[in-house]
Symmetry: C2
Amino acid sequence: MSKAHLKTSRWMHGKFKCCGYRMTKPREAILDVLAGTQKHLSAEDIYLAVLKFYPNTGLTTVYRNLEMFVNIGMIVKFDFGEGRSKYELADQYSEKGHHHHLVCKTCYKVIDYSDFMKDEIHFLRSIENGLSQKYNFRITDHLIRFLGICEKCGKK
Amino acid sequence: MSKAHLKTSRWMHGKFKCCGYRMTKPREAILDVLAGTQKHLSAEDIYLAVLKFYPNTGLTTVYRNLEMFVNIGMIVKFDFGEGRSKYELADQYSEKGHHHHLVCKTCYKVIDYSDFMKDEIHFLRSIENGLSQKYNFRITDHLIRFLGICEKCGKK
DNA sequence: CTCCATATTGGTAATGATTTCCATTAACAA
DNA sequence: TTGTTAATGGAAATCATTACCAATATGGAG
């Protein structure tokens, strides 16, 4: 966590200054929490983790900042179907790098994978061009996800 | 709508009998509503449309049946990030057939596309095999979606 | 065709995640 | 150090979705 902290602080300054945002303890803590885990955390998970550093943090503040981080592209928000969103550091700020998810429809377990990225690049290139022209749409992101039954749920 | 209705009724009987479900007016109406549109409807959209046929239908009933239809695979539930789910007839029951979505991050407009399905099949085949073996996961579905800014939002 | 067991319904009240409001506090440029 | 203004946090409000439960309707058995 401490290493993540140092790394985090570094980009924060740069990224924040140019966006006109201020650096605050809750913001720093939110990024630290996300940088210090491989898991997919909900807003409340993050709130509880942040509380350990800054005991007066409000849940509202966590939601507000998550939204802001998502807007400036530092955090990505996911919905895996559980009824609450999960958050991850964006690829370029994360040790994970570019990856996708394998989601169990039964228990909502999420497995990150980064296999087949070569095939993906090849697959996406032509499609993105084709679609953005045909539909007059500026594509900025893609979501590729596989759904099914995880090992544990498959045995029941 | 009437044509859709006839078509709907036909599969309902078969599908329902073998699952042990009963055929009811709300169920028929929900399928009819979805068969009669190309749009992505929310539970409330469907509820309001169903009310026109069966004025006493309850919103609870709509939610309950949507869940059931999703479970037996006749309807697919999507979350495009608006804060409420959208529903579509499953590919095999819909005139649309297999398709994916292009979603505007700003206004949540959704464009269906079914281009590049050949490339997709080729892309998915190896990946699904690889992932399911490596992660011991039975893949039943995939989600491919492109995100960005639609034409209208791009001009602002 | 009628009856019965039980699946299904629909209204209301709960739930739970996320937002709104607003008075107080803290960042940071000058 | 100070002033401007972004940011905070607590409580209350929203809003989609669920849980409950008494009343009703479906479809097979007789």
